[in-house]
Symmetry: C2
Subunit: 401 residues, 2 copies
Amino acid sequence: MDVPLLDGLQLIEGSAFVAAPSGGMTLAQLGADVIRFDQIGGGLDHRRWPLTAEGESIYWAGLNKGKRSIQVDLRSPEARELLTALIAGAGSFLTNFPARGWMAPETLREHRPDLVMLAITGNRDGSTALDYTVNCAVGFPAATGPVDGGEPINHVLPAWDLICGQTAALAMLAADRHRLRTGDGASMSLALSDVALVAVSALGHVAEAQINGTERARHGNDVYGAYGTDFLTGDGERIYAVGISPSQWSRLIEATDAADAVAVIAAEEGLDLDHDGDRYAARDRISAAIAPWIAARPLAAVGARFDELGVCWGRYQTFTQLVAEDPRCSTDNELFREVDQTGIGTYLTPGSPVAIDGRLPVEPEPAPVLGQHTDEILAEELGLSAAEIARLHDERVVAGS
Amino acid sequence: MDVPLLDGLQLIEGSAFVAAPSGGMTLAQLGADVIRFDQIGGGLDHRRWPLTAEGESIYWAGLNKGKRSIQVDLRSPEARELLTALIAGAGSFLTNFPARGWMAPETLREHRPDLVMLAITGNRDGSTALDYTVNCAVGFPAATGPVDGGEPINHVLPAWDLICGQTAALAMLAADRHRLRTGDGASMSLALSDVALVAVSALGHVAEAQINGTERARHGNDVYGAYGTDFLTGDGERIYAVGISPSQWSRLIEATDAADAVAVIAAEEGLDLDHDGDRYAARDRISAAIAPWIAARPLAAVGARFDELGVCWGRYQTFTQLVAEDPRCSTDNELFREVDQTGIGTYLTPGSPVAIDGRLPVEPEPAPVLGQHTDEILAEELGLSAAEIARLHDERVVAGS
């Protein structure tokens, strides 16, 4: 591929935290020119944990790879005019700031009538919500954790933020396509709580409540509605193995010498264990039939046999183990490069997970230093002279790095 | 908006389960014509739980809204030729089937040289992986749950599948844009494990291990690196409240009359509680200062005060409570309609979470009945005559509904 997929797409991003920045980064890692603006000194997320010993935000570096950075005094009318001009020039604007005042779509459209803009909000009505306050409300924490446990268990992964970021990115591309075909822009908004509601509906929880009138009970670490659970190996490692599709199921019971025991279970329970729902119903007995084989062997032997037969399984790892021991999290994986991040150091950095002919579409670049591109943006995008740029610095309308 | 954003985009989808179907559905709900093909009688996911009392899959209905359905005998060479012709006509193909044989990109490109195709895989090397086997490996279950708990706790939400589906959808749009500009197609692949690795890197876990050499310890239901946690109200309801941004923090301590106590904590601990990291360090003491106010009042009073001040909070709800009690999960929310799903009934069904000028971009439609569109697709997309279509039915190459 001679040019990246999103060559020629320029996006202005006014953002903080996870959702909007991950969306903008996704587009940058497919070749878009993403310019993120921040308040001079950094936005609300600029020192977000985890930090290095020197106080640099690993979080910020991770979520803003490959972007250009301009820092401005957002309270200054002149800075707002500069940003408005940038947005008008780019024609695409992604934000999770309140879309009011100079950032209101109707205001920006005065400068770019065919603007493609998306504002991420908490709730649809504009009221505040975050991943944590949305997730508890949509039912998952109550359904998470041991069957005999009591309290709801939050997810550690901010899944709604990440899904929202991807949805925002695709909406920008959909609207860009629409504009290419019709000439019309789009004023879009995307509520984090709506992202969660769409998912909880897609997965059937809403209909299950309305149609079946049932509550989805906890099921611990078991897969719901099919067969899969965690096991301990003889050397104390925890693994997860699934038999969801027919071939996964047959391989799993073959690998663990459980076929005879499974046949007995089917007969005694009057179930057809070729059906995933019946496997779910009999899961405890099935697990009791499978677990001993796994418990009698060290992880290496279990893994070797499982891989030989193509069983679908995984090992439980901490973040540290993932990085230290899993070849998928290394430069053995085309996804990763060792990239030097200014102020932090060199570490494994992925590009886009989308492979084109098996290869990374765009070499991963570090996150910018705040204000690293201020001058080049003012000169090249807005055509300002060196004198004009110097004045803006002197008056603290903008800052470099 | 006169025409939907993705008007004119036609996608063929060969899929099962969550990732690929949710990606195709996302595009359908922005106006694309998505044709999903299945084996006659249904694929591996066609009877996936949850089911209605009559055995209809609520899961399948939720993940395939708004698509057209053709069912064919996938083992039949003639059926494969028909699907190849459909793919060649549409020019876009999304699948999580193994991209081999007739579905290999190089084979399909013989019929459509500028094909845009994306194949979702488990691991990058093509070996099998699912959300459950990826999630345990990338570190989150080990980090989930009570601080004093022992065993890893799986997520109930298949977050990687959902993120993967959104990423696949945006990659299709990115490649479509590239084709519009250059005439070149794209052969893309997307590994579920790479989706997870990109996210775990974006959130800083990889660098934290490599640069800081630290393991992310469990932090229960607390927000990491800032302030937020769960509380019990006087009437036994659980809520989540956050003070992440400065304004969220000041509103929360104002609402709970905790400002004086917080000042004492700051002084005694030598911390600056204007910094989110310092709030995290002092979180247990902060929570002890805030919790009594919440525990002394019923949920209604807590909520009223919080909403009055604009505190960022949420209530823990089960799926049933979400549907029964939360106005966001009702037709009060523009996102939802009551839609009749054949064989299941009428229930709350969302469209796209992307709002355009505040409105649903496309009215949500039910999932198809399997094979509902076989004949119209054969006639309109492939130009087959009634006699040819009848023969295909007679020979069980295709089936209707």
